[in-house]
């Protein structure tokens, strides 16, 4: 019997409606009790002045392994997750080869077990080899433990295939995580289409490229009853489509990324490829639209789309550099700085968006501190002001435009199944 006592923190668990200063006692990897505890534990964390949250879950992470270990590995990516306060990640299957077989899922699970860091939930491919031609063996992938399905990196282009995928996944009650993009409209694009792209002479990706596909997938979800989760919503028009679909009772959920509620396409003026991602950074009006969507719950979760790329790949001409931005180690700081500190959302909503709802959408038994639950816990210092330094990142890559930014709020302890896997300053 091993015990861990987290003493005196502000315990927030939206799943139980809890927001109170209290102690959390963990026994044998599970939450034993929330309440004043005078007992002695094997290990104690003084959380006075800190927030104690169910472990954060990032449902959109590219771990790159297998195939692109020069960018990230399961070990480095999950270490980055721990340093960012995440006790779980869902890894997206656009690896090389893609995760479209039981063996591939098993490989991820084994590597994750060996890394012994945070939980890794596997997202399987919608289509075999991510080619968009025929369904992957979704039932077998479910048996192997896949929690959701996605061809992210690219949309499922064939509308009939997407329809079949919705119908088929319904039988397992698994969501399809959709990358929404009409490729003909974004072809050759490196950034948002707007005044900035016009002035810079860079090929733009119009908001419509994303919104047309969101519209298609909402319609397909409604006609099939399948679960659609819209990934990385970046436009205010996309938020409006999802809001209307939810009002009709559609089985639609959505996520937004910290960079999409923080940066705009103005960031491309320096031609820095760290500002290049897909979907691209949009306009200030879109940023406001995304924030409004998070505030009113149209956007259920915050996910990072953590997309590491080795420096030599990013240090290329803008049209040759790959899309992608790191996210795991700045997500909490950006969310606190951009949304909580200015009073747009409260702590409870932040934790709901970063733990409760991702767990619910993925159907995993996490995201709560209910007694008996697996003791995945994140301790956050809400007032800590810190400077982002990519050189100190756990990630193998450094492609973050936030290098040098001062952010408020940071995870100071990350606990997975009752074991303290990360403590700030004691890495």
């Amino acid at each position: 019997m091993s015990t861990l006592l987290i003493r005196g923190g502000r315990v927030i668990d939206p799943a139980q409606g809890i927001d109170q200063v209290d102690d959390v006692l963990v026994r044998d990897g599970r939450v034993a009790a929330i309440g004043r505890s005078d007992g002695v534990a094997d290990q104690t964390i003084d959380a006075t002045g800190l927030l104690v949250s169910p472990g954060l879950i990032d449902m959109h992470v590219h771990l790159r392994e297998p195939g692109r270990e020069e960018d990230e590995t399961i070990e480095t990516g999950t270490r980055a997750a721990l340093a960012g306060g995440f006790t779980s990640v869902a890894c997206i299957p656009n690896t090389e080869p893609p995760i479209d077989t039981q063996a591939a899922v098993e490989f991820i699970h084994q590597k994750a077990a060996r890394a012994d860091t945070c939980n890794v939930f596997v997202v399987g491919c919608v289509s075999r080899n991510r080619e968009g031609k025929e369904l992957a063996e979704i039932g077998q992938l479910v048996e192997a433990g896949a929690v959701a399905f996605s061809d992210d990196g690219a949309p499922v282009y064939d509308a009939e295939l997407m329809r079949r995928a919705f119908e088929y996944c319904r039988m397992f009650d698994k969501p399809i995580l959709a990358h929404e993009e009409v490729l003909e409209l974004s072809r050759g694009g490196v950034m948002n289409e707007g005044l900035v792209s016009l002035v810079l002479g860079l090929t733009g990706m119009p908001a419509a490229a994303e919104e047309v596909m969101i519209g298609r997938d909402i319609a397909l979800s409604e006609v099939t009853g399948g679960r659609l989760h819209v990934m990385h919503v970046s436009t205010s028009g996309g938020v409006a489509l999802i809001r209307a679909a939810k009002a009709r009772g559609a089985r639609v959920t959505a996520e937004a990324c910290p960079h999409h509620f923080t940066l705009t396409d103005e960031g491309l003026r320096g031609f820095d490829s760290n500002h290049k991602m897909s979907p691209p950074l949009r306009t200030a009006a879109d940023v406001e639209g995304i924030i409004a969507g998070i505030v009113d719950g149209t956007i259920d979760c915050i996910a990072t789309d953590h997309a590491p790329h080795a420096p030599e790949k990013k240090m290329l001409e803008l049209d040759r550099a790959p899309f992608g931005i790191l996210g795991l180690e700045t997500a909490v700081g950006l969310t606190v700085t951009r949304l909580v500190s200015p009073g747009k959302i409260d702590w409870s909503r932040m934790i709901e968006a970063m733990s409760t709802l991702p767990a619910r959408i993925l159907g995993v038994d996490r995201g709560t501190l209910r007694p008996g639950a697996v003791a995945d816990i994140t301790v956050i210092d809400p007032n800590l002001s810190w400077k982002v330094d990519v050189k100190s990142f756990q990630s193998k890559s450094v492609n973050s435009p936030f290098d040098g930014w001062t952010l408020q709020g940071r995870a100071v302890a990350t606990i997975v199944a009752g074991r303290v896997k990360y403590r700030l300053g004691r890495e």
Partner: protein
Amino acid sequence: MLQSERVPAGWHHRHLLDLERLTGDEIRLLLDTAALFKEATDHCRRKLSVLTGSTVVNLFFENSTRTRTSFSLAARRLGADVVDFSASTSSLSKGESFIDTARNLEAMGIDAVVVRHSTPGTPHLLAQHLDVGVINAGDGPHEHPTQGLLDIFSIRERLGDLTGVTVGLVGDIAHSRTARSNLWGLLKLGAKIILCGPPTLVSQRWRELGVEVSHNLDDIVPRCDVLNLLRIQFERQNMRPFPSVREYAHLYAMTSDRLTRAKPDLLILAPGPINRGVEMTAEVADCRQSLILDQVTNGLAVRMGVLWLTCGPREPGAATSAAATAGAASLPHRSHS
């Protein structure tokens, strides 16, 4: 006098990357410097030695004949050595990154890099990574600052002050770096700009910068003092933005007929190469108001000025050279080679 070989006090830049980020005064200084060189070299025919001992590299990742030749000649007219480096013959085809290529050249002891690339911002990235002057000779559809300067130089030579002058930029604005450099330069000098072409090539969004957008050439021709006819860049287009070349020419080619409805002293520019019969008819290209050949000569003058400003000696207290641009007509004292 240009006896001091130092750059003028009003010039604080190491590089020439775009016109968007220059002030009106800086653009005037560039134009004045070019005028000085044009005069000092007897319309760009004679040679000076103000850059003797300097080496300029033409780093061209995209095909070019006239711009590269113009930069080479300009550098040689100033006494500099010129090295041509084109991507097709380089190790880029072996997978080296363009930054590594440029760093290698830099290590050979050069003073300035003239770079052309199909991707916007590439000169800006080079400028961040190199310790030598970088001159943008065209970065995709973004900017082509020396082309913009030579167009403006040619207009200014004829019309003087550009305040209130109406300039129509006609054609493939979407893919034209020349259009963008003209736009910024002309705006900063107080000209009025009309962008004209089909909506697939001329976005309404340009209005946000305070310029007029028109899709009707016949409507704007009578109002323009200058027309700059830009080439249709078929090579940069994903999908042809108009139904046929025939239809484009019908709507947007400058013809003798349209010329009759223009102001009598309308000036015609074209950055070249021109597609005769598409952007303009042969009669218009060769008409008396055409500045097309002036543009070529002035290109040399502008590039001499730009090279001198970016690789000329820069010592503390360089203020003496302010006189150099103050209308001094005489040559630098080391003017013969």
